[in-house]
Symmetry: C2
Subunit: 315 residues, 2 copies
Amino acid sequence: MVVGSMLHINGKPTVHFSCKSNHDRPSYIPKPTAVKMTTITTTTITTAPSILQPYWASLQADIEAHLKHVMPYKDPLVVFEPMHHLVFSAPRTTVPALCLAAGELLSGDRHQAMAAASALVLLLAANHTHEQIPSKPKPKPMSRPKSNTMSFRAFSPGIELMTGDGLIPFGFELLSRSCDSVQENSDRVLRVMIEISRAVGSKGLIDAQYKKKLLSESDGGESCHVERIMDIMEKNEGGLHACGASCGAVLGGGSEEEIERLRKFGFYVGMIQGMVNEGFWEEVEVVKDLAFKELQYFKDNNRDVDAISSFIIHV
Amino acid sequence: MVVGSMLHINGKPTVHFSCKSNHDRPSYIPKPTAVKMTTITTTTITTAPSILQPYWASLQADIEAHLKHVMPYKDPLVVFEPMHHLVFSAPRTTVPALCLAAGELLSGDRHQAMAAASALVLLLAANHTHEQIPSKPKPKPMSRPKSNTMSFRAFSPGIELMTGDGLIPFGFELLSRSCDSVQENSDRVLRVMIEISRAVGSKGLIDAQYKKKLLSESDGGESCHVERIMDIMEKNEGGLHACGASCGAVLGGGSEEEIERLRKFGFYVGMIQGMVNEGFWEEVEVVKDLAFKELQYFKDNNRDVDAISSFIIHV
C-alpha cells in the first residue's frame, strides 16, 4: 500500500496521481464511493483536529489574545465590529498555530512568529468570509426547495465583502509593523510576506478554490476526481500548512535546511488533515511516517520535537 | 471664499466641515443642488483627468508594461485570464502614476517606485472589482424596471470575487520581491507596505466605502451630506493620492520632510480631483494653491517640478 507516489519537485513535496479510468483507479482508496462532491465542498478551510490538544489550543489562545490586542474595538466601529466578528467566528485552522510552533521549535520563543501567525489568521478569515458570500443567483421558483441549512449571517454580503477586503491589507500591515530594528529582521519579514502571498494567492489557495469550483461542476470519473481532490488538497491544506511552518521557521531564524524541512513537515500535516477529511485513511499512516522523518532531523540536532509532533500524533 | 478650514492634524492635512443645518451651510458651495447621491456613487475610484497629459500617460504606460511583464498569461489560465482582464479593464486612476512621479522627482529614476505603483494598480483593481459585485438581492418584480445600463460583465461574480482576492496578495508579493540587497531598501519597502495597507484598508478606502454606503441610505440635510462627502473624499481620492505620492517619495529616498510634503501634495491632488467630480469648483483653485506651495519647497531645493506639477495644472 503506497500513497500514490510522493514526488519531490524543486524541493516541494507533491503527491502525484495520474488521471486514469475507473479500471485503473489506485487501489489505496478504501471507500471509492465516499469520494463525493458533498465531501469536498465542506473542506475549503482545514478544520482543526477534533481533539483540541493542549499544545495547539495553547498556541491558538495566544494568537487570539494577540489579535484582540492589536485589533481593539475602536472607531470606526462600523468597520471594526464586523471585522472582529468575522475573524473570531471563522473556522479555526491549525495553520497559524503551526507557524508559532515552528518558530518556537527553532528559537525557543513562542512569540517569535506571532506577526506571521496573526496575519495568517486574518487572511484565512478573509478568504472564508468571501467564500461564504453567495455568488450565484437564487434558485428559480421551480427548483426543489432546499432544507434550511444556511448558516446564520450576522452581516450583509456587502459588509462581509468589504470587511474581508479590509482584513487582507491589515494582515500585511501587521507583518510590516513587526519589523524590529534591534533584530534587523526586515529581510525575514519580507520573505514571509512572499511565502504568505503565494500560499493564499492565485497560484495557491485561490487556484485551489477555482479548481474546487470546476470540480463541483464536473461529471468526470471517480479516479479523476481523486487526482483533482489531491491537487486541490496540495494547495489548500498542504500548501497552507507548508506556508505556516516555513514562515515560523524563517522568523525563528532557521537555516535553509531547517526551513525546507519544516515546510515539508507542514505540507504533510496539512495533507494528513485533508486525507482524514476525505476518508483516505490508509494513506494517513504513510504520510505520518514521512512527517516524522522530517522531525527526526531536528531531533538528531538536539531539538525538542515533542510539542510540534502533536500536530500529527493526535490526528 | 475659503475652502472650509484646512487643518493640519499630526501632519495630515484635512479639510474640516462641521455638520450644520441648511441655514448654516458653508457659502462656498456654488451649486448645492448638485450634491446628489447619483454623483457620489460614481466616484469610488478617482477617474483619471479627462485630458490625458503626456506625462501622466507616459507614466501609466510604463506601469502597465511592467505589469504585463510580471503578470504574464500563464498557468493556471483559469486564474490569470480574469486577473489580466480585471486589472486592465479597471478604471485608471492617477494614484500609481503619482507614485512614480514622486519617486522620479526625488531620485531621477522613473522606475524607482515601480513596485509600489504596480501594487497600487493591483489593489485598486481588486477594490474596484469587488465593488462591482452585486451585494443586494435583485429588485422585486413590482419595482420599476431599470434601463439597461448594467456594465458588461466578462466573468461571474464568483470568479470576480476570487480574482480580486488573488490580486491583493499578488500586489504585496510584487512589493516584497522588489527588495534589492544591493540597495538595501527593505526598510523602505516595508514602510511602503504599511502606507499602502493603511490607505486601502479598514481605516482608509474601506472606511470611505462604508461611509459612502451609509450616506447612500441616509436622508440627512444637504450640509451634512457635504461634510460627509468631504470626509469620504479625504480617505478615497485624498488618502489614496497621499499614499501614492508618499510611497514614491519613500522609495525615491526622500527625507522625512520631503516625504511629508509629497504626502500633502498628493492629498491635494486627490482632493482637487474629488472636488472637480463633485462640482466644488470654487474650492479647486484654493487647493491648487496649497498644492503649488508644497512643490515650491522642492523648487527652492533645485528640483525640477515641471513634470509633477502637471498633476494639478491640467485638472
